[in-house]
Symmetry: C2
Subunit: 198 residues, 2 copies
């Protein structure tokens, strides 16, 4: 991908985080990227093309920073890694907030735009799989289906808490605390036997 395309996609991520998917105006994106409107159409054909590539970019970036939980902080136990991988997405850092907001928008938009559903389901599945892997290392006695179910719950809860935070119904601290406790509850539930093969 050319530098320009990448610049525009990054700019689109910022605009979506600021205005939402359905608030994205091609003109505003052009201003944000410092290019003309028509250049955007040259590269992306139409508004849907912008969205498609941007949402792909967001999915990949989210993957990247959950899939590399501890480049700087290796040697942690699996429980800590799991907690960090999830709590990473509840932070007030600009890039994280941008990603969370844009991801939430992707999710909400897909309810009405079926063209986004496949990408979204794929990205969701890969994320759930990632978390299920961490759960497997945290609780090796559990079964894969049980880990998948726990991962689905924890990631869905994270999305729910995230949008409550971003929409002003919940403080960031509360959201983080609630998610931490949910991890405890899931692990206890697994240890209590719901993760064994039966």
């Amino acid at each position: 991908m050319s530098d320009r395309r990448t610049e525009i996609v990054r700019a689109a991520t910022r605009v979506i985080a600021r205005r939402g998917v359905r608030g994205l105006r091609v003109g505003e994106l052009a201003a944000e990227a410092g290019v003309s409107t028509s250049l955007i159409y040259y590269h992306f054909t139409d508004r849907a093309g912008i969205l498609r590539e941007t949402l792909e970019f967001i999915g990949e970036r989210a993957d990247r920073y959950t899939a590399e939980p501890d480049r700087e902080n290796p040697g942690n136990d699996p429980r800590t890694e799991l907690e960090q991988a999830l709590l990473l997405e509840l932070q007030d850092a600009a890039e994280v907030r941008e990603n969370s907001t844009a991801w939430g928008e992707l999710r909400a938009s897909a309810v009405f735009e079926s063209s986004l559903r496949d990408d979204l389901a794929r990205a969701t599945h890969s994320w759930v799989h990632e978390i299920a892997g961490l759960l497997g290392r945290t609780h090796p006695a559990g079964t894969a289906p049980a880990h998948a179910a726990s991962a689905e719950r924890l990631t869905a809860l994270l999305e729910g808490l995230s949008v409550r935070w971003l929409s002003g119904s919940l403080s960031l601290d509360q959201a983080r605390r609630l998610l931490g406790e949910a991890i405890d509850a899931e692990l206890a539930y697994a240890r209590a036997g719901h993760g064994r093969s039966d």
Copy 2:
């Protein structure tokens, strides 16, 4: 509220469920309600007014059917009532799906429209409180703050599962099963002592 106003608000709920808050066009709403565009402006002043009253209506309707969990089915134990109150929102019945969709849209829109936040936070709080009350009856030994935390998690999870369902990342059956297990996990977590005063 006059009949006409009510009709229009109901029509708006249907349009929002079909197109989203940001996909709602005043012209389409007029057609759906079988009235002229200008009549809508006569009653609601502007587009924001339509949204405000419609979202209020949605909040009230949601309240109504979670606050009356068992008119037809009384005498159930609290655990069943709790489960029913939550699972009620994961159904493929037209009105429920409409409400879930519109509620999700309200949530997603509030990320970018601060004018919706107060109403939303209020409605969320009242819902969480409702569920916390049911948790209290299910597990009387627990503390109120612990019930509030569990209720916040269960309702946030429900929102997360609901949007995954509506956006095609999760089947309805799976969503219902995952929520049911989450209730089990929360109750086990509470019984394990995290709900006691300490």
